[in-house]
Subunit: 253 residues, 2 copies
DNA sequence: AAGTGGTCTAGACCACGTC
DNA sequence: ACGTGGTCTAGACCACTTG
């Protein structure tokens, strides 16, 4: 018998279903060697939705780099589609990110302890005095190569105590959703870099991701009413994980 | 007499004007210590536009991290607003980026030469045999500290020959717009990191941005019909320039 | 019950590209 | 002239919060 826990999840919009349909449709077009999509009005009729809904789904696909829209000509599959797999703006769970990249992904828990929050953590998470923080360090592997180091700082109230190693292999996102019914729906990321010295400072001296330079994400995760829930620090070995981003520029005078 | 060159520029949408108005309005609210915006319907009436147009402008501000919207409660100014200045998805010109960050920005041309394209450049830019590439290296300073190294590879056809140092201090974006009437409206960015060795490889051995690790953007710029126009490589010293990003996550089962 | 943001529709008109 | 994507409007209905 599996242990079922009831926990909230976000509702899907019509345009999300449309986006999925279009995604599948694009795959099938590619198999036939076709690169042009039907006009928006036609797509709207085929899927029995309004043109606005189609356009919302297409905009999502455009921002993810999947399609290109050319005014007056049509909508086309991005010929660089393969580069769009690791979109930096997607915010996918790390295991899924690594899988998307074509690797076999796995995770190992490095460390798990309870501590007093630092003053910085206390103010970022708006914590009261005497509250406790759970720290979880994990390494993510791509085909057995360590590529990401993740350190999460989570207020104790959002997470079970004495979690098993098996449970800790779930994402923190999942843990707090199952344990406290809290959904993080937004994050703010600071992007910087680190040298081997500053990586080692987070892993008791051993440079576990085995690179002399790393991409660093400092993340604060928020729930739907903008309450800061937990903090993440992610180190990426960019010899294996390089992100992509599509930008549509404002080019005014 | 100034030398006026006619060159195309993008048209502004109504929602862009609305966004600017809202931006100014937000500044004035902040001066009064207020953090809540009026309801969307009210904003729409005040600015004499439809609610849809207001919502588009608000969505832009939300993606830039300027505001927060909470279902059922209202629209609020993001208390972390100051962190939103260097949004990685904005694609602003580097001088403007550095100024936004609160520094005095300047630029120096390091190198300027003509060469045969490498096979990689040739395929990325879809160049013919025997075409030529102009390479421009520039360093950008924040308060006299070198913080960005930029290397552009531009097909000769898009840019004037024998440009003066003064002209080269303009962005490549400007140069090709003025010279060839070409507008880049989209780019694709690969994000990685570099150690001091790989930075020095691009500056004849001297590590000009003076950091043992850098954030690297490899960029291909496209025009409105998806033709690749030119290539950029940007090295950021993240001791001075750290980017921010706001992500609104899809949290489905 | 009232207020506010979120999603969706139907339709109009415009701008750009092709023939 | 026609087809296509881009912007905007007006209005409906839903979901969430507050009183």
């Amino acid at each position: 018998m599996e242990d079922i826990t009831l926990a909230p999840f976000a509702k899907k919009k019509l345009s999300d279903f449309v986006e999925e349909s279009l995604n599948d449709y694009i795959d099938s077009l590619l198999k036939d060697g076709r690169t042009k999509l039907p006009p928006e009005i036609e797509l709207a009729q085929d899927l029995s939705v309004s043109r606005t809904t189609i356009r919302r789904a297409l905009s999502n696909l455009e921002n993810r780099g999947v399609i290109l829209r050319i005014h007056g000509k049509g909508t086309f599959i991005n010929p660089n589609l393969s580069q769009a797999k690791l979109n930096i703006t997607s915010g996918l769970p790390l295991l899924q990110l690594i899988e998307n990249c074509g690797f076999k992904a796995s995770v190992k828990v490095l460390d798990y302890d309870t501590a007093q929050p630092s003053p910085l953590q206390q103010s970022a998470l708006k914590l009261k005095e005497n509250s406790q923080i759970i720290n979880i360090s994990r390494v993510y592997y791509a085909d057995k190569i360590p590529v990401v180091l993740l350190i999460d700082n989570i207020p104790a109230k959002y997470i079970g105590k004495n979690l098993s190693e098996k449970e800790l292999e779930n994402s923190t996102f999942e843990l707090i959703r199952k344990h406290a019914g809290v959904l993080c729906i937004r994050d703010e990321v600071h992007i910087s870099t680190a040298n081997s010295g500053s990586i080692a400072a987070y892993t008791m001296g051993s440079n576990i991701i085995n690179s002399d330079t790393a991409l660093v994400f400092d993340i604060i995760n928020y729930n739907e009413v903008n309450l800061p829930i937990f903090i993440s620090k992610q180190f990426f070995n960019t010899n294996y994980i390089t992100f992509n981003m599509v930008r549509i520029l404002d080019v005014y005078e």
